[in-house]
């Protein structure tokens, strides 16, 4: 993993709080300068611990964390020069907005004139120029969020950490802020580590996403690869909507394999992390890649019989719940296009898919 261009690097980092359980197990990660990387995972997966180790509030039990080529394990947080945005903003309630922003500059002994200039620029950057004399309690959640962002950026750090910064905002504001944050990060060329448990946020904002589970990075990839080519069944389940069929590998032939499902039917799949015939596997297919229009399938493609259980109208898409090979929660989605076929409950259909869309993953 070692890479000379790496700006932030975790080398075999482990973390345990009680000496019995490893919260972070052998973490290796390397980020180039200017990257927007998201740590995504369920709660308790170790992503926040990693962020806190990088910020310096937790020490790594084992391994080395490097920042710009220097090991930082023994550098206290206040000397790391890392900007941080907290989940609950952590705006100091006894200071005005301008004083909040001025604080990181004051502790760096920056002169009053420069300080005021920088505070003004930072406030303008987040379109909060008129709010300098307010107290944080007088601001709405979205405004506090902007101030917290400005405060993390005002001292021009090269690395900014964000710990679920949009968790407390409503949906519309959250989407708007997602856009704002990515825009600022790219405009200023800051390296950003962003922690969230919201996969939409991770997919829309990041250059790369690290999916955490059980103290390990399960997959580190750009959003499109993560969604379309999950490397194991955890990632396939965690990112987006996913259909799972369980079975046993019957044969592997290069880029294709045949999977015998538990009810005896057979399907084609792309072997991802299965190794030999006889392995148990979970086959993953995205709902929008399932095809029930036979004309679009290969002539020799395996198909499955399915019964429509439910039809859900969602406006832009149609959603059907099917019973397939013993799985009653098999979802397919079709776009609400002029030529869309509407299935009705009780109808029997034959479904299939392209081999590359159906991934045979670990069981």
């Amino acid at each position: 993993m070692s890479n000379d261009a790496a700006f932030v690097e975790f080398q075999h980092v482990q973390k345990s709080y009680d000496g019995e359980i490893l919260v972070v197990k052998d973490l290796n990660l390397s980020m180039p300068k200017g990257e927007f990387l998201t740590m995504l995972g369920p709660s308790g997966s170790g992503k926040t611990t990693c962020l806190m180790m990088l910020a310096g509030f937790e020490t790594a039990t084992h391994g080395e964390i490097m920042l710009d080529g220097r090991p930082i394990n023994n550098i206290p947080p206040h000397k790391r020069g890392i900007g941080m945005v907290f989940q609950n903003y952590a705006l100091f309630p006894h200071m005005t907005v301008a004083e909040n922003l001025s604080f990181p500059l004051e502790v760096r002994n920056i002169g009053k004139d420069t300080r005021e200039e920088k505070v003004r620029r930072a406030l303008d950057m987040v379109q909060m120029g008129a709010f300098g004399s307010r107290r944080p309690a007088q601001l709405s959640g979205g405004q506090q969020q902007r101030i917290a962002l400005a405060r993390a950026l005002v001292f021009e750090p090269e690395l900014v950490l964000m710990d679920e910064p949009l968790g407390a905002l409503d949906k519309q504001l959250r989407e708007h802020m997602q856009f704002e944050i990515t825009r600022l990060a790219h405009e200023l060329g800051i390296t950003t580590v962003y922690v969230t448990h919201d996969q939409t946020e991770a997919l829309t904002m990041s250059d790369r996403v690290a999916v955490f589970d059980d103290g390990r990075i399960q997959q580190l990839a750009p959003p499109d690869l993560l969604y379309e080519e999950p490397e194991n069944s955890f990632v396939a389940q965690f990112i987006g909507e996913n259909n799972t069929l369980e079975g046993v590998i019957k044969s592997i032939n290069g880029d294709e394999c045949v999977v015998a499902l538990d009810d005896g039917s057979e399907i084609d799949a792309k072997p991802v992390n299965v190794h030999a015939a006889g392995d148990r596997t979970k086959v993953s297919i995205r709902p929008e890649r399932v095809e029930f229009n036979k004309d679009r399938l290969h002539a020799d493609a395996h198909t499955l019989k399915a019964t429509v259980k439910e039809f859900i109208y969602m406006g832009d898409v149609f959603r059907f719940r099917l019973s397939v090979a013993g799985n009653d929660d098999f979802i397919i989605k079709t776009r609400n296009a002029p030529d869309a076929i509407k299935l009705s409950p009780g109808q029997e259909v034959e479904i299939g898919w392209l081999v590359r869309d159906c991934r045979a993953l670990d069981a």
Partner: protein
């Protein structure tokens, strides 16, 4: 909307005015709330508010002279106290008539005690004269002037009549003047003689020592509260028990323990002598003076400072400190600029509590204070239970109450009472 076009008051569905309808629906709830608080309200009123008001009234009430000597008081109005001459026969006659009635009712000794607060000797003069005036017949035995002077030469002293005239008013400021080391004289309010002025000094000492005690409580309580709020659960619970332990011990026991510790043959002195830090003949005097009072009271009032501080510090989330450090602040800057300002409401609450408790404290100064370390409240207790000068005690208490309220008002102006939090 139809409401907008409707003129006059809003109406409820059945046509009654909405306000009336709302008041009716809320009335029952208000009555029930009142009924629930009524017993406590009554209890507080009867056992707290009324006694305090009646006690405060004693500081100005002075009906005893005019009630016991009604005729004399009328005659005294004609007498010029500034003339330096004794009153005329009419007054002496009125006095004898009053006294005969008073002696029958055994009121004359009470009057003597009252006047004795103003001029010593009055009590025995009234008691002695009473016995002999009893034998005088006011109808037959006149003239009385020389007879009275014969009974007790005090009746021939102009000062005696001046004192009686000065304190004949039913509502007096005399007690309050006494409380601030002054006295009521025919010439108006005047300072007490030098050797009798102790109360102002005592007030000053009480305020000063209460401030020192509050200050030392802040210094000692702050680190403990910080630990309580920031240690892991188990350790902080243990520490909390240690903080509360003194609460479960009798106040007298704790104060007496300090006596054992601090006296000249006590634990501290013995240890210091044994270690050779202090010569045997130069043992430290650390009790029965201000030092002893400050030490013992700081210890006793400490929990009242720790608890409010702790409950405020507990509400300061750790992410503020983290945020400050991530912005480059050192530990000290983080504490001083971020943590400390947010803990001020706790200091404020604790200070008010400790200061007000200290200013009226009585038992501890009484036991460890000696003569130099006593507070104004010890003086009040003395006048209530020993000298029985309740009027003066009430005046002192009223002044103390006023001072506390004044300080509270200043505190509100300077710090703001909104900045006080108990949790």
């Amino acid at each position: 909307m139809s409401d907008a076009t409707q003129s006059g008051p809003m109406l409820a569905a059945d046509g009654t005015p909405l306000k009336k309808s709302l008041a009716r629906s809320l009335r029952r709830r208000k009555l029930r709330a009142l009924a629930l608080v009524a017993p406590l309200l009554l209890f507080v009123l009867l056992s707290f508010v009324i006694p305090i008001i009646s006690m405060l009234f004693r500081s100005v009430e002075n009906g005893i002279v005019s009630e016991t000597l009604p005729l004399t008081v009328v005659e005294l109005q004609h007498w010029d106290a500034e003339s330096g001459e004794l009153p005329d026969e009419a007054l002496y006659e009125a006095f004898v008539r009053d006294m005969v009635v008073a002696v029958d009712a055994k009121q004359h000794t009470r009057l003597g005690t009252r006047l004795n607060y103003e001029q010593t000797g009055m009590s025995s003069m009234f008691r002695k004269s009473g016995r002999q005036i009893k034998r005088i017949d006011p109808e037959a035995d006149g003239p009385f002037k020389d007879k009275l002077i014969e009974i007790h030469e005090g009746w021939g002293d102009v000062d005696t009549w001046r004192v009686i005239k000065t304190h004949a008013v039913p509502i007096t400021n005399g007690y309050f003047l006494n409380a601030v080391d002054m006295q009521r004289t025919p010439e108006g309010a005047q300072a007490q003689p030098e050797d009798k002025r102790i109360l102002i000094k005592l007030f000053g000492r009480t305020l000063f020592m209460s401030l020192i005690i509050t200050g030392s409580c802040i210094l000692l309580a702050y680190p403990v509260s910080y630990l309580l709020a920031n240690l892991p659960m188990r350790a902080s619970n243990m520490l909390m028990i240690l903080v509360l332990l003194p609460f479960w011990t009798s106040l007298l026991v704790r104060t007496s323990a300090w006596k054992v510790m601090l006296q000249q043959q006590g634990v501290i002195n013995e240890t210091l002598v044994w270690l050779g830090f202090v010569a045997d003949d130069a043992r430290l005097v650390i009790i029965n003076n201000q030092f002893g009072t400050i030490i013992a009271m700081t210890h006793i009032l400490l929990p009242f400072m720790i608890l409010p501080m702790y409950s405020v510090m507990q509400t300061i989330p750790p992410y503020y400190t983290r945020a400050a450090k991530s912005m480059g602040a050192t530990n000290w800057t983080t504490f001083w600029r971020i943590y400390f300002p947010q803990s001020i409401p706790g200091i404020g609450a604790g200070s008010i509590l400790v200061f007000i408790l200290a200013i009226g404290y009585y038992i501890t100064p009484e036991i460890v204070g000696g003569t130099k370390g006593v507070f104004i409240s010890n003086r009040i207790a003395y006048h209530i239970s020993s000298s029985l000068n309740w009027g003066l005690a009430a005046a002192l208490g009223t002044i103390l109450l006023a001072v506390v309220l004044l300080l509270y008002w200043c505190y509100d102006k300077i710090v703001g009472i909104d900045n006080v939090k108990l949790g």
